[in-house]
Amino acid sequence: MGCDMDLTLNEKRLLVALEPVGSVDAATLADLMDTRQEAVIQYANLARERRLVDVEKHVSRRYTLTEEGQTYAGRGLPERQVLESFDDEIPMRDLQAHPLARIAIGWMRKKGWVVIKNGIVRKTGNATPGPDEVAFAQASENGAVTGDEEGVFDLLRRGLVQEVEAVAYTVSITPQGREVLARGLDLQAEVGTLTRDQIVSGAWRDLPLRRYDVTKVPKRAYPGKTHPYQRLLDEMRRVLLDMGFSEIAGGIVQSSFWNFDALFQPQDHPAREMQDTFFLGERWPLPEGYERVRDMHEHGGETSSTGWGGAWNAAKAKQCVLRTHTTSLSIQHLVEHPDPPVKAFCIGRVYRREATDPTHLAEFEQLEGVVMDEGVNFAHLLGFLKEFYAKMGFEMVRFRPGYFPYTEPSVEPEVHVDGLGWVELGGAGIFRQEVTAPLGIEHPVLAWGLGISRVAMLRLGLRDLRHLYRSDVEWIRDTPTYSGRR
């Protein structure tokens, strides 16, 4: 402190302006410095932090004329104007013709200036101006009046004046300020932004560059960004590509045949009821060879299966749905690519007819991977799962038996999450032969899937899944692009 190199040019100019006067209000100071009052206050506050000046804030209440008040300014209150419009007396009917009569007559009577008898308004002779008129006259003349004037509150009640809060500042130089002045100040203008000329000509060498205060945080800037959830989806996609899985994508609308029947979901399964699945009015034709799927449902076709029994209904299989899982895409991909090996994955939105709340949504992303190859087996399935979860940052994985309608054997993977313990994450299994045989898929198919929103909740610390899809801009702005996790 005390070294003038720290001072901005504006602070220096402020001290110079204050030197002859010592203490002055901000408005005057602004005139002296030929700038705006707000700017002066800003410089003064900077200088105050260095204890070179004192800044005193005065708040005062003043009363200015309202719109109605303005209309009487210079002419007096309505009752005064009306009183002066006639001599000693006037018939009431005539007086009522005066434009201000409606307001004025009541006040004239109340103030005892007139009496009204038999339709005649007569002056009492006693009409000295009250404190309200004194205050009004001041307000009219000066544009405002202070609360010291007792009549002002009558005017306030009548809506003729309004309260205005005024803030004024007095800036005074301190002894430290004078010391700095005494040491002499360099008033050459500081340079904010270097110009091309200054750089090219070498003039920059002699320029006093304005110093910035590194303790002041910058204005917050917001870059364009991908969505935090998208970054998680991309991470999963990369993991699967790294593991040699090719990506598949497909339609949101699926026939029940591909969404359910081809996956050996019995036609009376609860998931196929209207309460759980979004059905559509559209009906799609069954693919060639659907009869083998029908036979599988009815009696197990040519496998060791018994099938579900009962009669399989083709009409039910034609009805379209919003896909309830991406497995409908995986199975069609396998049908189209019958030659091993096939390793494919899909990340896509799936639909369940659920009422929306913090942990349930009618639509969410699902990830699914399938491996079809000669001789792949259950131990391999566990191997893929371990690898996938490890790459997703879940180092500890364990397995329990599971149940899924279209896989056998089935398994439920659990991952260990600090603070939560073992968390079930997805499901896996080998496609039942009832699924693969009628579609001509000749080798075992390992499959696993998981709802990504579960992972999103764990990784993004979300409590409410809806925030993924109806996001707060602030949350996206505040979530770092790189979490430091990998």
Binding site: Y222, E247, P401, G402, Y403, V411
Partner: protein, 551 residues
Amino acid sequence: MAIIPLAYRYMERLTGTDRQTLIERIPMIGADIERIEEDHVDVEFFPDRPDLYSAEGVARAMRGFLGIEEGLPIYTVHPSGIAFSIDPGLADIRPYLGSAVIRNVDLDEEAIESLMGLQEALHWAVGRGRGKVAIGVHDLDTITPPFHYMASPRSRSFVPLDFDRDMTLDEILTDHPKGRDYAHLVERFSEFPLIVDANDRVLSFPPIINGELTRVTTATKNILLDCTGTDKRAVMTATNIICTALAEAGASIETVTIGDEVMPTLAPAERCVSAKECASLLGLPLSPEDIARLLERMRFGAEPDGNSWIRVLVPCYRADILHDWDIFEDVAIAYGIENFDATLPATSTVAEEHPTTAIARAVRAVMVGLGYLEMIPFTLTSDRVLYESMRREPLPGTLRLLHPISEDQTVVRTDLLALLMEMLQANKHRELPQRLFAIGDVVEDCATYQKMAAVSIHPTADFSEAYAAVDVFCREVSLSYAVTESVDPAFIDGRRGDIVVGKRVVGVFGEIHPTVLNAFDLEHPVAAFALDLRAVPGYPALPDTPSPGGR
């Protein structure tokens, strides 16, 4: 899901092991522990294992799994001499009946509750809400055989459970709580199923309600079981599961004669499975003897035939064994899923991302470079948001849900712009400027493809900003385009342009119409653009979708 309460003391008695072992090991036969309580544990078992929906069934399985008692459980049945006849008039209503006599039951309140619990769980898992199978248990000593399962006039009356007066069958459907719950299963028929005894007294009105007459109480010693339904296999599954559970609890089972069939036999089904197929599916080096030993722990009867085949006897209560692989899964469970050596196969594959992913990545890179934030809106929306608020006419190819669950989710989006407007509305109180974009699936005429959209809201957002962004975007994704004046009512006339590629309008941009701003409760101008990504070079041809309608 079926959640079964297992009382520790009873389970310890039935299995001969301690509760800690049970709690630790039960999940490894395929179950989720829901809650661990002072005196019991609530366990959720899978829907394909209804034989585990009773403490007795779980104990039977755990005795095997823990090596306490292995191999096929043998249930002997004796004839009861009781006959049941079935009215041919039921053929189109509810044709199948399974029945048994269960003697010497020992029922306290808890046991009755547990039997009702099993019944309810079976109604759900096997009976599909009583449609496929409904189960009734009756105090046999209150009624006189033979019994008759008949199609009855709807005017017939009896005293249903929990009531003290005669009600007609029709009345039960409207006035009895169970009648109201299950009326939909029978109301289309002119006659209703009814079970009566030799004296024409009513035992039951399946699948709705039993008669008060045969109520099972703690005094009940002998039970008549009826399982009626529309699927023979499911009816027998339920019959077998209830009989064997009660047999495990100490009761003895007797057969009834229905026509010329004597049931239940409680006999196992037989299957010959390949040990080689099993070992190769699981990836375990198991011999036929190993496999047979593991199957015995899962309560199968299993005998290697000395030639790599195994003769397997499947207990009558195992409804889930449809296929040989179902048996192999039990081998895996007995081996212990946790004991597998997780390995990766040696085959190498070369991965490829989907072409739309490459395009989406480019879109994101460009939009982020332009300073836009990504949003991932829902695909389900409503006509109000998608069209009305946007002043647009509904597209003819809009996909509508038959049974929406809320009025905010009635259609699948055909465009993303409206959803971004909604996002701006939701973020109205956040600092401006806000620049948002989204990329994602839309559905039109049942075909799924991708679109993108972008919005920019701030006091000086205008046509020029939108145009400049469109121009950058198209250049960056190698899209040569032309612009013509647009008539899109979501934008202000004179401040809107169509993005044209070839002869097709593939997008639109400009200043959003103030009426639209009002509809989304926005107070500043919005510059926006939207583009059909099928226009981008390299976008894959859509896979064939079957023609809608199908006829």
